[in-house]
């Protein structure tokens, strides 16, 4: 049938488009596996030959700053995710289900806040944190990350709680549940996909965050990996294989999460993404 045939042509075209579009990602990985001389081959080797892992084993593993940066990012991103969940989940439920006043106003607030550039917060935060001794601290960095993650999480989560059937919550009430236990025992378990979505986007956002790290962590030992990477741009110069290896390592958790939790991401990402 011609229809089937046309569809396979479309698949072919789709593969080509996707491959061309993601060429930079491939090029990052390919370059990270090249030797120092192979990166300057003209014309460039599209496939690294020989393949070498030296950039990973020598540079990434042995560079103290990189390990520290990864650790910092992990701490900041995990803490941001946990704080965001703890604060945003009850709030989203309250705004969806508890017939409070000012709901449209609060939702508007949480949406508008997401339009604020990170620099607008980083600048006053630096002054405020300087006075509170929170510059170069995990607390400060987590607070800063949560400032943008929490409003986003609330806007993403509220629809999930809105879609919990009212009858389910009614049944819980009939069984004598308090508002709090109806939330914890009924609404939360039913909304696990939403919780995963929010956890994932909070983590992705905090892991890739740059501006707060740059402004609020001047000491190298406190900088997240994104800021460390920006610093390596100067010190590594044209060691592109090493730079791409570090980039790949920074991207790795994102790619792993993306591959395994993909279906949870799409909805959340477009709901008001938390980039810079």
């Amino acid at each position: 049938m011609t229809g089937t045939r046309r569809r396979w042509w479309l698949t072919g075209g789709g593969v080509l488009i996707t491959a061309v579009y993601l060429l930079p990602v491939y090029w990052m990985l390919a370059t990270s596996l090249k030797t120092s001389s192979d990166i300057f081959a003209t014309p460039p080797d599209l496939v690294p030959s020989p393949v070498t892992f030296t950039s990973y084993t020598e540079t990434v593993m042995n560079h103290a700053g990189i390990g520290r940066g990864l650790l910092n990012s992990a701490i900041i991103a995990v803490a941001t995710t946990l704080v965001t969940l703890a604060i945003a989940v009850p709030a989203a439920y309250g705004l969806a289900r508890l017939r409070l006043r000012f709901v449209p106003l609060l939702m508007l607030l949480f949406l508008v806040v997401q339009m604020v550039p990170a620099v607008n917060l980083a600048l006053p935060m630096f002054v405020i944190f300087s006075r509170l001794d929170l510059v170069n601290s995990y607390t400060g960095l987590v607070l800063a990350n949560c400032s943008l993650a929490i409003p986003l999480a609330i806007t993403v989560l509220r629809p999930y709680f809105l879609s919990v059937p009212g009858e389910v919550l009614d049944a819980a009430r009939v069984d004598g549940c308090t508002t709090w236990s109806a939330f914890l025992r009924v609404a939360v378990p039913v909304s696990v996909p939403g919780l995963i979505t929010v956890a994932v986007i909070s983590f992705l956002g905090a892991w890739g965050e740059f501006v707060f790290g740059l402004a609020l962590a001047s000491e190298e030992s406190m900088q997240p990996i994104t800021v460390v990477l920006a610093g390596l741009v100067n010190s590594f110069g044209t060691r592109w294989n090493d730079l791409m290896a570090v980039s790949a390592v920074v991207a790795l958790p994102i790619i792993v999460i993306f591959v395994f939790l993909q279906r949870y991401i799409v909805g959340g990402l477009t709901a008001g993404a938390s980039k810079s």
Binding site: P43, R99, P104, L214, V250, A251, S276
Partner: protein, 332 residues
């Protein structure tokens, strides 16, 4: 769950909003067991405990800093006053200083140019991808998802990869352009003003394109097939169906997508900071980097506060239109 339009629309649903609360409250009292019976007043007070932490948190980490920033913008903040406080109130002096500076206006123009062009490219590419991947064929869902990788990748990573792609002597892009005869010899993208601006625009558009695609795909899926069938019966070809059915039907979603992506792009900092730091010279000095430099390079937190405060007008002003269009789309 898909587009921003979708979620934000749902977020605005009056179902449990305050104006809906009266009617719902009445039914609740009527049959006693509706979504948590019990005395409404007591429940309501308890209910606020769910929301108060979030409101306080946002007040402390967003609203307070923003107000604090406005206060800073009216004071003479030296390095000593950053930690000690007690900066002298100088009224509009910092504003007069900033508005009289060529760099400030230059940054604003560069920012608008950068944002406008990046959004235009991302929209064109995102629309093309959305239309293509809206067709039915094996593997399209996997490919759609894969494309999103460009959007979730940390911007620091993609910016760094683009620096390498755009390298004058050994960059892949120059090799490809030379192969097809578009350029001759090395083009040092990031070392020359106009190519540098173009380079950061392309890198930014690359990141934002999948977002546009997803937003528009949601809109495309809302167009009923019957419209295309009717157009076909009327003898409309593929291009005609695109211009007379797809484009008009996609307009509301396009407007909200454009506004949203414009706001996000205007906020962008990392991509440009990593690729050029605003250079060469000030060729790519966008507003966020200009403001950052004022404060963190030159330690002028007062004029930095002026720049950030004034800069806020653009995303906030546009978000006003964004929410209005969302609402209109919702009622349509």
């Amino acid at each position: 769950m898909s587009a921003t339009g979708g979620t934000a629309t749902r977020a605005d649903e009056p179902e449990t909003g305050s104006h809906g609360a009266g009617a719902r409250g009445a039914t609740a009292r009527g049959n006693g067991t509706r979504a948590g019976g019990g005395p409404p007043r007591r429940r309501r007070l308890g209910g606020y405990l769910f929301v108060v932490p979030a409101v306080l948190f946002v007040a402390a980490t967003v609203l307070y800093p923003l107000i604090f920033n406005i206060d800073l913008s009216f004071r003479d903040v030296g390095v000593a006053q950053i930690v000690e406080g007690g900066a002298e109130w100088v009224g509009t002096e910092n504003y007069v200083d900033q508005l009289g500076r060529g760099d400030f206006w230059h940054a604003l123009i560069i920012s608008l140019l950068y944002t406008g062009l990046a959004v235009a490219f991302a929209f064109a590419a995102g629309l093309a991808l959305a239309v293509y991947f809206n067709q039915r064929f094996p593997g399209r869902n996997v490919m759609r998802s894969l494309l999103l990788l460009a959007w979730v990748l940390p911007t620091v990573v993609s910016a760094n990869v683009w620096r390498w792609m755009l390298d004058g002597s050994y960059g892949l892009l120059n090799t490809l352009l030379e192969a097809v005869g578009l350029i001759e010899g090395d083009l040092f993208w990031l070392a020359r003003p106009v190519p540098a601006l173009f380079a950061v625009i392309i890198a930014t558009a690359w990141s934002f394109t999948p977002l546009v695609m997803i937003l528009l795909l949601a809109g495309l899926q809302g167009i009923p097939d019957t419209l295309y069938e009717a157009a076909k019966i009327d003898g409309a070809g593929g291009w005609r169906r695109f211009t007379s059915v797809t484009m008009p039907m996609l307009r509301p979603v396009s407007v909200t997508a454009l506004l949203l992506v414009f706001i996000y792009t205007f906020k962008t900092f990392d991509t440009v900071f990593l690729m050029t730091r605003g250079g060469p010279g000030d060729a790519t000095m966008i507003m966020p980097i200009y403001a950052y430099n004022e404060a963190f390079e030159f330690f002028r937190f007062d004029t930095g506060a002026v720049a950030t405060t004034l800069m806020l007008v653009i995303p906030l002003g546009l978000s006003f239109f964004y929410f209005r269009f969302l609402r209109r789309e919702e009622t349509a």
